[in-house]
């Protein structure tokens, strides 16, 4: 039986998406959560390519990874937080 590369790549990307989604929940640091969230968005964008929806994939990457996650990072970084490994509030 010939190896189905499409299926293999799809399974890999889905696994990465699920793993990153779990990492979003389990990260202690909020910014790390956003980084993994961006990875989830990116993988979902790739799965759209497998559905033959290239336009949706490009727009998904442009809006969700390029804008929404950056907006979340802004929100996190402009709120009060402690510097890493210290008690001092900034």
């Amino acid at each position: 039986m010939p190896l189905e590369w499409d299926l293999l790549i799809f399974l890999f990307i889905s696994a990465v998406a699920i793993g990153a989604a779990l990492a979003v929940v389990w990260s202690k640091e909020v910014v790390r959560s956003v980084v993994f969230l961006a990875l989830v968005f990116l993988c979902i964008g790739f799965t759209y390519v497998f559905l033959n929806a290239e336009y949706l994939a490009v727009v998904q990457i442009m809006i969700y990874v390029g804008a929404v996650s950056v907006l979340m990072l802004f929100g996190i970084m402009l709120t009060k937080r402690r510097l890493l490994g210290g008690d001092r509030c900034e």
Partner: protein, 363 residues
């Protein structure tokens, strides 16, 4: 006249694997390996790898030449001589690269190691990914998807993410402020950039670089009807690339080096390199969309298309350098006002002009 790199390298790989290595393997006795090497899948795969390698190398060499061009031209603008190593200073960047390569790789003690190491990977990977969709001529490209303009600009919009987490992960207030400024500026100027491109897309009726260049070859260079869009595009592209009138994120005097202060060694070298790679991509997008790509006067047909394209790219980057040499830095409180209050309305007016031209059928 252009080089069809796919046909050329496909023929080369076929000759190498089927006519040279195949018989040698068959003579030794590996008949299974011989037929596997000759199968179309393997030939296709090796050809794709070679094409990607060659286009990547050409892009990186052009980016290095952009660094040399910038240092030399800026030197002349400031009445000094610029780089000195090698003939007309051409080897200075290679010497700098070697110097940076032998430095120790340091991770700051208080940094977040995962994100700190991921940020340069994201920035460099995204910058080099954009080489994929840039065609140098009708035959010299890696990929030619139906929406290559949109794809290139979508990848462009991933850069502020890497900048922001890179500035945060270094755990230093200068890098954090620099990262926030960089991301705010890049996101703000992306909107006029995209809107100025829309005018070209409306007139050409396509999202593909090849089709847009073909339209310009048969009609007129887009810079003529879309002069307003071209000006907005060049200004916004300068802001996207964090070059001098808009280099607040790395303002040397107030923020040390901005968000890349804590990155050392080859990480810093590659981040600088990727900035010029993005500069090359920005200049080539301007060339493809507004300056006719590889279009040329008919009596100069004997010069290859790729050289024409690269000449225009170097001219556009020379314009960037000239702006850098001539302009003072924009003040922090003005930067977002320029983007939202000046460039955005101009880009909107440009779209209206494009729609009027399209309706009247002028261009």
């Amino acid at each position: 006249m252009y080089i069809d790199i796919w046909q050329f390298l496909g023929g080369l790989v076929h000759w190498l694997l089927v006519d040279i290595i195949g018989p040698i393997l068959g003579w030794i006795g590996f008949h299974g390996l011989e037929s596997w090497l000759g199968s179309p899948g393997v030939l296709n795969f090796v050809t794709i790898l070679l094409v990607a390698l060659i286009v990547f190398t050409v892009g990186m060499l052009v980016a290095i030449t952009h660094i040399w061009q910038e240092r030399k031209t800026l030197g002349r603008l400031m009445d000094r001589r610029g780089t000195q190593v090698g003939p007309i200073g051409l080897f200075q960047n290679f010497a700098d690269g070697l110097k940076v390569l032998v430095k120790e790789a340091i991770i700051p003690d208080a940094a977040d190691p995962l994100v700190y190491n991921a940020a340069p990977v994201i920035i460099i990977g995204v910058s080099l990914f954009m080489f994929v969709t840039i065609p140098y001529s009708q035959g010299f490209y890696v990929a030619n998807p139906q929406m290559s303009v949109l794809l290139t600009l979508a990848i462009f919009s991933l850069v502020p993410f890497g900048v922001l987490i890179g500035g945060w992960a270094s755990n230093n207030k200068y890098t954090l402020i620099g990262g926030l400024r960089a991301a705010a500026q890049i996101i703000a100027y992306e909107i006029p950039l995209l809107l100025s491109v829309i005018g070209v897309i409306i007139l050409a009726g396509s999202l593909n670089f090849m089709d847009i260049v073909a339209y310009q070859q048969s009609h007129v260079w887009m810079v003529v009807p879309m002069i307003l869009g071209f000006v907005v595009f060049i200004i916004s592209m300068n802001a996207e690339l964090e070059r001098v009138p808009f280099d607040l994120p790395e303002a040397e005097a107030e923020l040390v080096e901005g968000w890349m202060t804590e990155f050392g060694g080859m990480k810093f070298g590659l981040i600088m390199m990727s900035e010029y790679a993005r500069g090359f991509v920005g200049a080539s997008i301007a060339t493809l969309l507004f300056l006719g790509g590889w279009d040329m006067p008919s009596f100069l047909q004997f010069i290859p298309d790729e050289l024409w394209f690269l000449a225009k790219v170097f001219a556009v980057f020379g314009l960037f350098i000239w702006i850098r040499g001539a302009m003072p830095r924009v003040r922090t409180d003005q930067i977002l006002a320029i983007g939202w209050k000046r460039l955005l309305p101009l880009a909107a007016i440009n779209i209206f002009i494009a729609i009027i031209f399209k309706t009247l059928g002028w261009f």
